[in-house]
């Protein structure tokens, strides 16, 4: 086997491979650029197939040869069609290509081989001109783009240049047959290089595409690296526009991000475009498809752009768009829109590369968002703890004030009450006071007492709130205490009768006498207060195995079922209480509960509205035997 035969076979195999791959590619992704690519390589492959067929059949079939020649002569025209996909081709050049093709066909049909040299040279000239033009166009396209398309266009330019040289050599051969010895192997080598370039340019293997993508991605990431966190988002968006534009040879690009509350896409960055602003609706066209289906999308005609972009595209002079979502798995951030003056030749590669860039940008946006969230949370936390500190200080100041104020109020009250006491005693002893004056004096005494109680309650409240309410637990006879308080209260009752039940045995609890007196006083006071129309107040003291209990039952107005859970909260008053009729601030039961709880006891309430209430307190019992043992020790 001769070396140049081997070269030819490799070249032809390469061509067949390219044709097969482009056809497969066309089947997978149908678009006009792919049709033209498949057409061009299909035509070239057909020539190879015809040659092969002729070799196998071992005889010339004239019409097959003619078909092959016609397909070959169509190649420059088909190549020019490819160029038209990514840059405009002047009309005269288009005409030259078309007319040249038709004239070549005519010559081929009209003159049987071998062709007269001038005509052959004419065909060669047509070939070389169009191929050369395409090669230059590809090269210029390559210079205008970056990324994968840059490499592919460059290889297409090299391939076309080689093809032009091959044809030129064929022409030289025809003009100077003596040089065949040199030109034939050279043209075979060039043809091989041409096909390899076309192979890498038009159907590059995946690894090569990735390598090209990576270099572009690297550049993008380098541009963002080393930026301060607060300008990273802006840098990312600007860089995305710049890199996106260059990578696909666009006129410019814009990034629109979705505003969370309004769900509107607002343009946040752009490059190579007239001053932009405003928002996009993403309701129709390529923009709408990219946004709602999260799919990188190409639009090759303004009609397909989407309503909102048309003015922008017009201002930029764009005839095609690439729209790529900026999104991570968790969040759709927005869209990258790249404006092109012609539809892209290698749309899939362009979209893939842009998707790679937008993915990185989305990750940066995610990170920035996360960082912002963290900073925000830290700030909120700081504000909250500061507020908490202030609130605690305010509460402390309030409690302190209450405590001081109460102490300060107690002194004049003691003086007032003492003097009332002195006058009352003197009046009783010496007489001479009119009943009216005595009544006025009683009012002073009663109201001072009332004020005194309020001050005491306030002081208790501040003690409870600041955790300073302390109790001294000493053994005490619960019934005796109840009996004393009842006796003290008897004179103040108006229409209510107290029905006190003596237990069968002495009931001793560990308690603070003053505090428990307060509790009993509050419960009895409430029973009387909320039975304005009188009735019996039943007071029962008894014990079970572990606890002593005291129950106070009235026949008063009762408490609504819904109010019961809130009853022991401070400042709470049941809704059926008429404030104008029955005064109170809603502290008594709160204090009762606090005191009983501090004793290790419990408060319970049952009530039927309109029939009365029962308040029961339970207190830990001291065993009688235990008590007597203590008494013995003492």
């Amino acid at each position: 086997m001769r070396v140049d035969d081997l070269l030819t076979w490799i070249t032809q195999g390469c061509l067949l491979l390219i044709a097969a791959l482009t056809v497969v590619d066309l089947i997978w992704h149908r678009d006009r650029a792919r049709i033209d690519i498949a057409l061009m390589f299909g035509a070239l492959a057909a020539i190879v197939l015809i040659q092969g067929l002729t070799t196998v059949m071992r005889r010339q079939v004239p019409w097959l040869g003619q078909v092959g020649a016609i397909l070959l002569l169509a190649q420059p025209y088909l190549l020019l069609r490819l160029v038209q996909h990514f840059r405009p081709v002047p009309r005269p050049v288009q005409w030259v290509a078309f007319v040249g093709m038709v004239i070549s066909w005519t010559i081929l049909v009209a003159f049987p081989a071998p062709l007269p040299p001038p005509l052959a040279l004419l065909i060669v000239a047509y070939f070389v001109y169009v191929e050369g033009y395409a090669a230059v166009a590809f090269a210029r396209g390559a210079l205008r783009t970056g990324g994968v398309t840059h490499h592919r266009l460059l290889l297409a330019a090299i391939g076309s240049g080689m093809l032009a040289l091959v044809i030129l050599l064929a022409g030289v051969n025809r003009a100077l047959p003596a040089g065949t010895g040199i030109t034939t192997p050279l043209s075979r080598l060039l043809a091989l290089l041409c096909m390899l370039s076309y192979y890498l340019g038009f159907v590059p293997p995946r690894w090569l595409r990735h390598a090209w993508q990576l270099s572009e991605l690297q550049r993008f990431l380098q541009a963002m690296a080393g930026r301060a966190a607060d300008e990273r988002v802006t840098t990312t968006l600007n860089q995305l526009c710049l890199t996106g534009t260059r990578a696909v040879g666009g006129l410019g690009a814009a990034v629109a991000l979705c505003d969370t509350p309004s769900q509107q896409l607002t343009i946040r960055a752009s490059s190579g475009l007239p001053a932009l602003g405003g928002s996009l609706m993403a309701s129709s066209g390529a923009i709408g498809r990219a946004w709602h289906a999260h799919q990188p999308t190409v639009a090759r005609t303004p009609a397909d752009f989407g309503m909102d972009v048309i003015p922008l595209a017009a201002a930029a002079g764009a005839a095609a768009l690439l729209v790529v979502p900026i999104a991570t798995a968790g969040r759709a951030w927005g869209l990258l829109v790249v404006f092109l003056n012609r539809g892209p030749l290698f749309a899939t590669d362009d979209l893939n590369l842009l998707a790679l860039l937008t993915e990185q940008s989305a990750i940066t946006l995610d990170n920035a968002d996360l960082q912002r969230e963290i900073i925000e949370r830290e700030r909120t936390e700081a504000v909250r703890s500061e507020l908490l500190k202030q609130t605690q200080a305010a509460v402390q100041a309030r409690d302190q004030f209450l405590s001081i104020a109460s102490h300060e109020l107690k002194t004049p009250l003691t003086s007032l009450l003492g003097n009332v006491h002195v006058i009352e005693r003197r009046a009783a002893r010496e007489g001479g006071w009119s009943e009216r004056n005595l009544q006025a004096l009683r009012v002073i005494g009663d109201q001072a007492q009332r004020l005194n109680k309020l001050v005491g309650t306030m002081l208790d409240l501040s003690r409870i709130e600041s955790g300073q309410l302390s109790i001294e637990r000493l053994p005490l006879d619960l019934y005796a205490l109840v009996q004393r308080v009842v006796a003290e209260m008897q004179p103040t009752l108006e229409g209510q009768t107290v029905d006190l039940h003596r237990p069968n045995e002495m009931i001793i609890v560990a308690g603070d006498e003053l505090r428990l007196e307060q509790v009993i006083h509050n419960l009895l006071g409430n029973a009387a207060k909320y039975s304005p129309s009188g009735g019996a107040i039943r007071v029962q003291v008894d014990r079970n195995t572990t606890m002593a209990w005291l129950a106070v039952t009235d026949q008063g107005m009762g408490i609504p079922q819904a109010a019961l859970p809130n009853l022991f909260q401070r400042f709470y008053r049941a809704p059926n209480v008429d404030y104008r009729q029955i005064s109170g601030v809603g502290i008594g039961l709160y204090v009762v509960k606090e005191i009983v709880t501090l004793h290790g006891g419990e408060v319970h309430v049952t009530s039927t509205e309109g029939q009365g209430s029962t308040f029961t307190i339970c207190l830990p019992l001291i065993d009688n035997q235990h008590m007597s043992a203590q008494a013995d020790l003492a």
Binding site: T411, T414, G418, H421, R425, E472, L474, L514
Partner: protein
Amino acid sequence: MKQRRRMGMGILVIDDETSIRDVLTEVLEDEGYGVVTAANGLEAISVLRQSSEPPCVILLDLMMPVMTGWEFRKEQQQDPALAAIPVVVLSATQNIKKEATTLGAAAHIPKPINFVTLLATVERYCAAHP
């Protein structure tokens, strides 16, 4: 009224509040007791040491400037001439019972003062006086 007046120094009231001293004096004198007052523990000590006859009872406030009730009590207990005088603690502190026990007081009355209780208590220590 005159026949109820007791002889001697009577009752010593120790309280830093003038109005409390005044009202106690008024109430107690009205009942026929003799009353001497002091504004703090130190003053009380000097009053006690100057007088020929000890009071039947001392009404002692706890929180006072110069010399507190606790300090006074310590001083009093160290002086054999004064140690036997019964002391009734008058205080607004919520732990009055505990304080009174610690101080070895004869009785305690919480502030604001219930004057009926006060008179009953005082009578226990001063009834025996001529």
